[in-house]
Subunit: 510 residues, 2 copies
Amino acid sequence: MQTLAASGVELCLANPGTSEMHFVAALDRIPGVRCVLGLFEGVVTGAADAYYRMAGKPAATLLHLGPGLGNGLANLHNAAKARSGVVNIVGDHALAHARHESPLKSDAAGIAASVSAWVRSSQSAAEVGQDAAAAIAATRDGALGRIATLLLPADTAWGAGGRAAVAPPAPPPGFDRAAVPMVARRLRELGPRALLLLGHGGSASEAAQRLAAAIAAKTGCRVLAEFYNARMPGGRGRPGIERLPYAIDAAVARLAEAELLVLAGAADPIGFFGYPGKPSQLKRAGAALQTLAEAHEDVPAALQALADELGARPVPLDAVPALPVVPEGRIDARSVAAAVAVTLPEHAVVIDEGITAGRELATTMGGAAPHDWLMVMGGAIGWGLPGAVGAALGAPGRPVLALEGDGSAMYTLQALWTMARESLPVTVLVFANRSYRILQGELQGVGATLAGPRAASMLSLESPALDWTALARGQGVPAQRVQTAQDLAAALRSGFAGRGPYLVEAVLQA
Amino acid sequence: MQTLAASGVELCLANPGTSEMHFVAALDRIPGVRCVLGLFEGVVTGAADAYYRMAGKPAATLLHLGPGLGNGLANLHNAAKARSGVVNIVGDHALAHARHESPLKSDAAGIAASVSAWVRSSQSAAEVGQDAAAAIAATRDGALGRIATLLLPADTAWGAGGRAAVAPPAPPPGFDRAAVPMVARRLRELGPRALLLLGHGGSASEAAQRLAAAIAAKTGCRVLAEFYNARMPGGRGRPGIERLPYAIDAAVARLAEAELLVLAGAADPIGFFGYPGKPSQLKRAGAALQTLAEAHEDVPAALQALADELGARPVPLDAVPALPVVPEGRIDARSVAAAVAVTLPEHAVVIDEGITAGRELATTMGGAAPHDWLMVMGGAIGWGLPGAVGAALGAPGRPVLALEGDGSAMYTLQALWTMARESLPVTVLVFANRSYRILQGELQGVGATLAGPRAASMLSLESPALDWTALARGQGVPAQRVQTAQDLAAALRSGFAGRGPYLVEAVLQA
């Protein structure tokens, strides 16, 4: 605990058990680490992911043996894909006890390996401090983060000889300047037949986005961000970088004219799923890839160097798109997009796990108040509500809006309790379409057809319909159900006006 | 799907995604497999565990890539420790797509290895049938079950050449007759200084329990069951086999006079956790172990052979313990134990994840109606509500009572929705002590002390208090909160009288 505090780890997200009791007991003796309780481990790990994206430094988790790690695994997968740094601490059986077969004996190291860049099991109390410092250092990979899992056998907490350590400061990321003149030459040559693709670091800051816009204006190249971005500023006064579409056909069409993809923190674009008769690789056949800077490098500095090389100067932004008018009547994708854009407060953080219902929002958010947009990066659902917890903890004072499907919100609904417990300013908007709507589309994509009622029932969340206002109130979160777009906008305003969490269940018409 | 149906797998517990859509689409074309939806993967895997224990054969799961498997991992851990058979089917990316980095790319095989006895990834549609048959066969280990994980890349569902197969019939378990005369001799020699310890197969049937009682009456040996039993008949008309205590000191005291432990499906007794200054192994130092039959062998047949060897005859049961009277006034461990024992209907299945509040029940259940008692076998909490789903599906027509702590029930509360959806006759009793009460005891056990309010808050579920009636109603389950023992008994009777699920929140006084 002293090592965490001394190394700048200020938050511990915990779902502890017996083997972590000394850690819990230390909370009152050692200042500097805030501990927040989650009632399910997926809350803990999803919050750690979003916390890193907003705070720019890792939180610690506190989990209980292999099964606790298992419960947190899906959101650790998301965090690993987001390249978020997490000091993932897992209590384990005392070393002598682990020799025997017992109910909770488990292969925590094996489970951790699937999502961790670094795994170590401390072997004595004397080593815990230095191991924790090594774990913190291992969460750093240049400009990106990684997951470091430290297993703490119970006896390393009650043994003698413990000494605190301090993780070394993180080395600043660099980039390869040799690439800059070559990229500049190719962009000048190809103009609109080149595409500057922004990923980590390229899409994550307003400054980097403005540099990309300047480079495009100077060379005529096009600019896109990847479909998934760990953090992307948007709204009024930002360049409004377009994202690559999710759907394979649309993405392929969008890339069809690009003979060269210049990667600024991005990867060779790949579809989310493979589908029969459709490509996995989205770029045009034979198109070239040229790397300006890799994701772990200093992508904004590389973009600045490229702009300097090209003599590209800041360009005025396009006119701010007009805010839509919230329509009367029923709630559908368009009226949701309008209501969110109109009501979003300044400098909100938007957590996007809205799945099908959220995709329309990209069209209206350019006119909304400036905000940061965070997406689930590993495709594992159940990230959104925990992510909202982490974003609120990582960006104190900023309002958070979580966009959730009713299906996806169910995976980790326990996050609502932590929001209430910590009075986090999170407004949760649940799109109650009462189905796994995304799967109804995916079913067609893979060439399967719904032959009858039994298959259809597997994609339906009717019978019984979930009552999200009850699920929220049961965890201490005030809530409201709305059926019209005007009521939705009013409910969102209520949520944003409060100091704590608020849940809005928007019943979507089919 | 045809292979499952032809091999006797009648239930598929599913939380499907895109890569499993053909499987879902097949539900209406191929009869013989009932598909039940869970809104979280831990519901699916916990239900599969308890289903096996009641139905005596495996269910299939249907999970979505590594993260879906991760969400189901804790209850697969429990199922593995329970030695329940599960055909664990995990959809994965199409083989060509898995070559590329993508958000959902994950090490599903690596994650599965931690809990599976058998893992295979099908490589073409032509192999899926025979691979599924091999998976079903791999779930069998004599009298016990195992977890077999079959990974199905998406293209194995849309490729050509699929052919159904049939798993071979399970070979019947045997046992080593050579051990019987040696065990008989030692029991005769040692009398009360010998202990017959019942585990899998030894505690799981009334017939085996009666044989153990007869052997004890003949030789003077003592009989105990392990603390954790996958399934244990109890109540009026059953021998009332005592279980080894959970607490280390009590267990050690209980075993202090045994110079020999004869294992009938049991293992060398080990404590749940290791504690400073306390042993992991519970038997007296120097005590001998002698195996009558291992857990995967035919333990009842071995007990029968031993009884025959000894000339032990069935003994009359002890007088039925008087049913307690439900007291007036507040709800505490004693009044809960009375209310449950008095109201339990005939042939109920009791799911025990009551943690602290449930331990008192052992003292009253001997007088209750005949029932089966199922415990979480791997120590991973979040098993109880899913287990109740599986028990109801595996024992149609029998009422189910789930004993839950408010802390433990939160891990997989999504199971309530499946209970409502399928109209399962499950009465859920939530002990609302509003704390991780078990950890308050464990804290002392490991020698840690609560130094102040920050540590104490990590073990408290107050602020806000969970409203379990709202959490149940939000998922379509009727519910009632009770504050007195008399109201508790009445509420349980209401639950047992209904056809579908019912939740009773019992507010415990500190």
